[in-house]
Symmetry: C2
Subunit: 355 residues, 2 copies
């Protein structure tokens, strides 16, 4: 799997670096911002999922390449706007788009610090807006690369439903949860949010790959629905596992620090379940840990103990494992081929990691 993933990443990197769409964007610093996140690289897991879903059902990799690039650019514009909303300063080890633009424009137009900050944010909003157009353009260009126009139109409509409407609804729910009292949130609400914020774009990847392979405009085709279910299960399993590793994972100097979610008071299924299931004393203790500036190793050990004692840690892991198995079972219902193996390996990679 890893070798093919690297090859896909290289193909996507090249396609996006050379692509014509941003070339006519003005001014030049906005054009650079439009290209910035998409060409920063990354594992390109979403494009791989689309291409492998296409290959699983016998479709050609080349027909799936433009939709795969579209998904990657779409993912990146949501990051640009998310980073504004979350007021994040760094992304993949470099300044976020709005921070980079603030520095660039502050210097270029001699702006005071708060004007530079606002202007950087304004242009980052526009950069993300342009990237959404770029993503749509890449998707529509499938019609020049082996996807019939009626299938291309159908892909475009699924893109607006899953990647735009569902994903952004999930992002909005995530922002809303940060405004609500943790004690008033239900873990089922978080699962719904995860399905939209993380699952929907993965569902698009598998649905698009399947529709290209089957040469159908019908998103209700049984194989399309099955692969969509696979993606949703795998996406939520990945996110539950990610939440678990945020507390129980191996420290990784490149990844997010352990305890970050706790500091931000992020409403995870595991946290909400712990608050529901723990003893009154542990519950109060855990609420006291939320939102602190730093955590000692002893603090984190205590949080882990509370989560384990409540049973929430184990049930989180069990739910992730169950969803991963559901995802694998769906894959196993298709005839074996190298793409099926890549997708199975991908599920294992997402779930069995320790950081």
């Amino acid at each position: 799997m890893i070798n093919h993933l690297r090859q896909i990443a290289a193909d996507i990197d090249r396609l996006l670096a050379d692509d014509e769409f941003p070339a006519t964007v003005r001014p030049d610093y906005l054009r650079d911002a439009v290209r910035d996140y998409p060409v920063r690289g990354g594992k390109r897991l979403r494009p791989a999922m689309l291409i492998w879903s296409c290959g699983l059902l016998g479709g050609s990799e080349s027909a799936a390449l433009y939709p795969a690039a579209a998904v990657e650019v779409f993912h990146n514009w949501t990051l640009v706007h998310d980073d504004i909303i979350d007021q994040d300063d760094t992304r993949r080890g470099a300044p976020t788009s709005h921070v980079k633009l603030a520095a660039e424009l502050g210097g270029r137009f001699s702006l005071a610090a708060d004007d530079a900050e606002r202007t950087g944010r304004d242009f980052a909003i526009l950069a993300g807006d342009l990237q959404q157009g770029w993503a749509n353009d890449l998707l529509l260009r499938s019609a020049e690369h082996g996807v019939p126009p009626e299938v291309t139109v159908a892909l475009g409509r699924r893109f607006q439903k899953l990647a735009n409407s569902d994903l952004i609804s999930g992002e909005a729910l995530d922002v809303e949860f940060s405004l609500r009292e943790l004690t008033g949130l239900k873990s089922q609400e978080v699962r719904t949010m995860l399905g939209l914020k993380t699952g929907a774009l993965l569902q698009f990847c598998t649905e698009a790959g399947a529709m290209i392979a089957l040469n159908t405009a019908d998103a209700e085709h049984p194989d399309v629905r099955k692969l969509s279910e696979f993606a949703l299960a795998a996406g939520i399993a990945f996110q539950l596992r990610d939440d678990y590793l945020g507390i129980f994972g191996v420290y990784d100097s490149l990844g997010k620090a352990l305890g970050n979610d706790l500091r931000e008071g992020k409403a995870t299924v595991m946290l909400l379940d712990t608050l529901r299931l723990a003893s009154a004393a542990d519950r109060e203790k855990l609420l006291g840990y939320i939102g602190r500036e730093t955590y000692s190793d002893a603090d984190l050990d205590d949080v882990r103990r509370i989560m384990r004692d409540s049973g929430a840690a184990a049930s989180n892991e069990a739910e992730a494992a169950r969803l991963a198995e559901q995802a694998r079972n769906i894959l196993r219902s298709f005839p074996d081929n190298p793409y099926r193996q890549h997708l199975l390996d991908l599920v294992n990679f997402l779930i069995d990691r320790e950081r």
Copy 2:
């Protein structure tokens, strides 16, 4: 023309009010924000331009309806993000999207004033993002309403180029001009900006109408190009006339107040030409008027005198008239029919108004 315009506005109003796309957006207040601007009404001039361009070349109005609705929703999302960037509080007599969301969310989640303001802005960013998806979905649905899929894909690609890339580039240049010294700006730069910010979406309207009527995916078809030139000329003429009326117009309590552009130091062709052509004394005087809080009638009379004496006012009017005539001449090169007359009337309506 006016009666047909009213009928188109009613059709668009109904289509957008009933449309399914926003129905699954969550949370409910974000769904309301997505619907808000598009259903606030308005003259719906852009949809009319698209439908009439289609009719001019013998196409059916019904095939043009979904692309026309798409253009209107697209226009509205750009307003949502523009209003954030321009920090505007009202739009068509009601609070802007970010202001409305700030009030709603501040109350709902008991937020402090600055948190409410930031949260309102964050959700308004997402509302605009969703509206861009809605616009694309409406456009793609043309394929279910009489537009062949290969033409639909071609319309989609023109949409990304003209409505997304060119229009947003124009918006970005406009923001940049507000950061630069007026004395360092060339009026030609402003014309380029106007062509992108105002012209490009109108170009899409006429190109889309023509491509639907001609049943072609070829945006290089001579009739498509001619109507695109018509739209660009009409759009810049409208904007030049608008700038003129901002200083010389009849006071209109519903429209923007006279002198607003002057207060904001907006870089109009007329202002830059005045600064270039006026006597040194008048030039200094005019620079002194820019950015004041209020203007007396005597102040505005003096500004008008300076603009007239420099010759810039007359050359602005001459340029608008020349572009309008160019637009009319392009229309006259097509065979006469009721749609041609509507488009000619529209040009006159945009240019001959006094407020």
